[in-house]
């Protein structure tokens, strides 16, 4: 039997990373602070998960300033979108096979 987990993306194993990606695929971009508010996580926690996604090249990071305050924008990359869709399809398949 084919391993149903072969397309299971390790990067999305963590719930916060999965949520970050969900936000970025349906929005043009999201800023660090609004993302933090939305997901209700701490600065350090969010930053480490964003770093992990950046390392996979699933997200693109544009650093900027809003006056003097740092204002970083995050975009879903093409690879990130593809990986997310693949992950969703795998989830769907897993749920379907377990229901039947």
């Amino acid at each position: 039997m084919k391993d149903p987990f072969e397309h299971f993306d390790k990067a999305f194993e963590n719930k916060i990373r999965l949520q970050i990606m969900s936000v970025l695929v349906v929005n043009a971009y999201y800023e660090f602070n609004t993302l933090k508010e939305l997901l209700n996580v701490t600065d350090g926690n969010l930053a480490s998960h964003l770093k992990a996604l950046e390392k996979e090249e699933y997200i693109e990071v544009v650093k900027g300033f809003n006056g003097r305050k740092p204002n970083t924008k995050y975009y879903a990359s093409k690879a990130g979108r593809a990986a997310f869709v693949k992950h969703l399809n795998t989830l769907e398949k897993l749920i379907n096979t377990q229901k039947n």
């Binding site: 719930k15 999965l18 949520q19 969900s22 936000v23 695929v25 349906v26 929005n27 999201y30 609004t34 508010e37 939305l38 997901l39 969703l88 989830l91 769907e92 897993l94 749920i95 377990q98 229901k99």
Partner: protein
């Protein structure tokens, strides 16, 4: 089995976060009901100013053009608008705070801008035409522009707003076809529809 529900939890959380990150979902249903009640009260006042003692369903053979009555009508409309906006803002902030959400986030601002643009354009359009003496434009144009504003806003908030917008547009067009019944259409669109919509939304989301 435990794994199964974990996957479904993942999907549910994806869905929820996508919705919350793109839409402002704290709109209060109750404020719709209040806006409807204010609009109906305003319509009753307008009825006494324009039609009394005739039936509001009867066709008018005279025009509303006395300066005094006109200024009373505008005053009434202004009060209705101010009360409805105040109720909407207060109740929506209360609802957002209760569910622990930010009431002035990115999506609230997008909703505000996308709703305001057609409304302000419509408002200016109506004022310009009224100043030229086209009083008949007020009821159909306010319904139409409000419907278009809602249709536009529905992309940034609860999708149900879309249906309210379509109903207002249909009413506005009917109102344009049947001149002389402006007040009835206006009371239906801003009064009755708001109450119906607000009640539905309150039972669907405000629990």
């Amino acid at each position: 089995m435990a794994k199964d529900s974990a996957f479904e939890n993942d999907l549910a959380s994806i869905r929820n976060i996508m919705e919350r990150s793109t839409k402002f979902i704290s709109l209060s249903g109750l404020s719709g009901v209040l806006a409807g009640i204010f609009a109906l009260a305003g319509s009753v006042v307008a009825y006494f100013l324009i039609y009394y003692p005739n039936s509001p369903f009867g066709f008018r053979f005279y025009y509303v053009n006395e300066q005094l009555i006109l200024s009373y009508l505008f005053l009434t409309a202004g009060i209705v608008l101010a009360c409805s906006l105040a109720a909407g803002v207060v109740l929506t902030i209360r609802k957002a705070k209760r569910s622990g959400l930010n009431y002035w986030d990115k999506n609230a601002r997008r909703l505000f801008i996308n709703m305001s643009l057609p409304l302000v354009a419509g408002g200016i359009f109506i004022i310009v035409l009224v100043s030229r003496g086209y009083f008949g434009i007020v009821a159909p144009a306010s319904l139409l522009f409000y419907g278009l504003a809602l249709l536009n806003a529905s992309n940034f908030t609860l999708t149900d707003v879309r249906y309210l917008g379509i109903c207002e547009i249909v009413l506005g067009l009917l109102c344009a076809i049947l001149p002389g019944y402006g007040l009835i259409f206006w009371a239906t669109g801003f009064g009755v529809l708001h109450i119906v919509y607000g009640t539905l939304m309150h039972s669907k989301y405000d629990k």
